[in-house]
């Protein structure tokens, strides 16, 4: 019996149609716009001004405060604006636009050779500071600054590092391709993270629908470091959720309202481990990432290594263009990704995929009355009662919703996916959750 998390979960059609597409490198675009906030926390402060010439990998925005992150130029060229741009939802954000030259001139100290560097003699403090300098953030989508996550709070003990190679969202294959094609570097990155946080045990969790990745990493693990376990997991969404992956691999449950560190675990995504490798071993900041471009209606599927700041529309054009019958373009996977209203917006560090859905698949079904089938309760991976908390938020009974632990919801969408009456359960739970959190803040 393969391991998995204890409560709930669903198994939507996997649709990993881009899984056999090797990572290809998109040519450097003519211009990039690099957002100053691509992470959770305070936006970076620009350190360049209009007219400056910047090199590829040069710092252009400095992390402002502890929870923040640096941003770097992903191209060589002239800064044409330090201004605002429109993000995927059409909101104005701050960013730096750079007109790119055709040939990259890499900033001093960056090792851009394909050679794999195995040894690392740095102290934990030095590793963490290099990770911070390189602007590494959680690449699974949460974009929490990685150096902060690698800093174990005083008095806490961490005994296990988990590398998240689950990729439980349908369609996504960027982590899979990284594991297959850049497995060794990724494992070295994992080993460096473990070294920095002072743990011996590294577990790599991968769902059993990726046997090639399990085999490949298991074969490589011994050569990188002792104590790396590669564990296949039963295919079940949302196993990629930090809390659920920890439960699946260690049987420890992160307490309600707590953090992984409360149960002695730190989780990092596969892409993040690779970024840490590049930052520490090659002095290379996070200026590109692998993005899955997928959808049944697209002319071709692709896993593209793309410079941060490249516009999504150019990325789509590079992959053959957007079909006319397109209804939705989703940043991320179909379960938790965000539907975009604007494609003239840059690729950011947390963008794992661009998923295109045709018109007829993009429309919601008509809501029917709740028949109390209890399926939402049985699929909820947090053991909540989605029908109840959704109804309570719909009626604006916030205090009752709070009693029923609405804030535990991880917004995985399993309830809405499962509901045979097509009730938009999560829409209302989301509203309720933010209202309850607001209430809580006002009480303090």
């Amino acid at each position: 019996m393969l391991k998995t998390f204890p409560i709930g979960g669903i198994h939507p059609p996997e649709n990993k149609i881009s899984r056999e597409c090797r990572i290809e490198t998109m040519p450097v675009p003519a211009s990039v716009t690099i957002p100053l906030s691509q992470h959770i926390g305070a936006p970076a402060e620009p350190v360049v001004t209009k007219g400056d010439r910047v090199l590829t990998g040069q710092l252009i925005g400095r992390g402002n405060g502890f929870v923040s992150s640096n941003v770097h130029s992903s191209v060589t060229g002239i800064v044409t604006a330090v201004d605002t741009y429109l993000d995927g939802s059409g909101n104005r954000k701050r960013g730096i636009t750079i007109q790119a030259e055709e040939v990259d001139e890499w900033a001093v100290g960056i090792d851009n050779s394909p050679e794999v560097v195995h040894t690392c003699d740095l102290s934990p403090r030095e590793i963490i500071s290099k990770v911070a300098d390189a602007g590494v953030v959680g690449m699974g989508g949460a974009t929490f600054p990685t150096h902060v996550k690698m800093t174990v709070p005083d008095g806490r003990k961490v005994d296990t590092l988990i590398i998240n190679g689950v990729e439980c969202e349908p369609y996504l294959t960027d982590d899979y391709r990284v594991m297959i094609e850049r497995g060794e570097e990724m494992l070295i990155g994992a080993w460096i993270i473990a070294k920095a946080i002072g743990v011996q045990r590294i577990i790599i969790g991968i769902e059993a629908n990726k046997p090639e990745a399990v085999e490949r990493l298991a074969a490589l693990a011994g050569g990188v470091a002792a104590g790396i376990e590669v564990t296949p997991l039963r295919v079940r969404y949302p196993q990629g959720s930090e809390k659920h992956l920890i439960a699946a691999l260690t049987s420890r449950q992160v307490p309600s309202g707590g953090l992984p560190v409360d149960v002695g675990v730190i989780v990092q995504n596969v892409g993040t481990a690779l970024a840490v490798y590049e930052a520490v071993q090659k002095n290379k900041p996070l200026i590109e990432r692998v993005v899955t471009v997928t959808g049944h209606s697209l002319p071709r599927q692709a896993n593209v290594s793309v410079r941060i700041g490249t516009s999504v529309s150019e990325l789509l054009e590079y992959c053959g263009g957007l079909p006319d019958d397109t209804g939705k373009v989703i940043a991320g996977g179909p379960m938790m990704g965000k539907a975009m209203s604007n494609l003239d917006t840059p690729v950011i560090k947390g963008l794992s995929a661009v998923l295109v859905m045709p018109q007829q698949e993009s429309l919601r079904r008509v809501e029917q009355p709740c028949i109390r089938c209890a399926k939402c309760v049985s699929v909820c991976p947090m053991g909540l009662e989605p029908y109840l908390i959704s109804r309570l938020s719909r009626r604006a009974v916030w205090d009752e919703a709070e009693i029923h632990n609405i804030t535990d919801c991880i917004e995985c969408g399993s309830c809405s996916w499962q509901c045979p009456s097509s009730i938009p359960l999560l829409d209302f739970i989301r509203i309720g959750k933010s209202e309850v959190l607001k209430l809580r803040r006002s009480r303090k």
């Binding site: 939705k328 373009v329 539907a339 494609l343 109390r372 632990n405 045979p420």
Partner: protein, 342 residues
Amino acid sequence: MPVEAGARYGKTYMEDRKLIVSPSPHIYGAQSTSRLMLDVAIALLPALAVSIWVFGIDALLVTVVSVGSCVLFEYLIQRFLLRGPLTVNNWSAIVTGMLLAFNLPSSIPLWIVVIGALVAIGVGKMTFGGLGKNPFNPALVGRVFLLLSFPVAMTTFPVVADAATGATPLSAMKGALASGMTVPEAMAMFSYDDLVIGFKSGSFGEVSAVALLLGFAWLLYRRVITWRIPVYVLGTVILFTGILWAVDPQQYMSPVFHVLTGGVLLGAIFMATDYVTSPMTGRGMLIYGMGIGVITVLIRIWGSYPEGMSFAILIMNAFVPLIDKYVKPRRFGAVKVKKAKA
């Protein structure tokens, strides 16, 4: 003027494009309410087939009249009284009609069936606001109303095959025990083969254990219901009657006899599992299922009715809101956050 990515195309990529935006998730499972109800109707077909084989065309006639009147009453009430959206096409009225019919003798006058359908849909379901709102199983509301209003018509069963009487196995057994016979003597009246296949007297949908279990298998295969409620109900009936039987086999029937007769299987698989009127959590289903099992056996053995399944389900239906209020699912990470040790 802000420079926007992509603007160098001369016009922006979005200029003549409209994209649909909605919160996640962006995909949905294959199950729908009407398909689930259709699956229940399909799961009832084997039992319908056996009852037509055993009781003849009457069983089909009662089913058709019951289903037809349920659908018609639901339509009329939605159209002219509630004036809300019509949801009569979601198969739920058809399922109610089938279940009501299955709980009737095949020889019942058809006008009584129509009254049963009116009470089931009109009183049992639509009074509370329609699908999803009714506290009691509508088909059972209809059946119990008929049982109390037309006791003779509701307990007069056609004579099956070579059986001596039209009495159901349960009432025959109850009568025999009352007249001083022991259980082993009375058991001579029955053959287990007949009980399993369905050659016995009774409400026509409940007679064939094989057909009902086939329907159960379909419901599980299609993931319409989980194993929980049927297993909890049947387990409780088997355990309870098993203990009594072990104590005194002369006076109490075996658990096998209890499960194969009356409405236990039909009730446990199709009526107790009605989504709307059963609890939402696994542990709630355990309490509910055990309650139904215990009450059924109590009525069968010590009550004045030979069968207690309908009453047991209706009684436990009444407890469902209470169960759902107090029995909560097992929560992930339901422990207090440990404060950092200094």
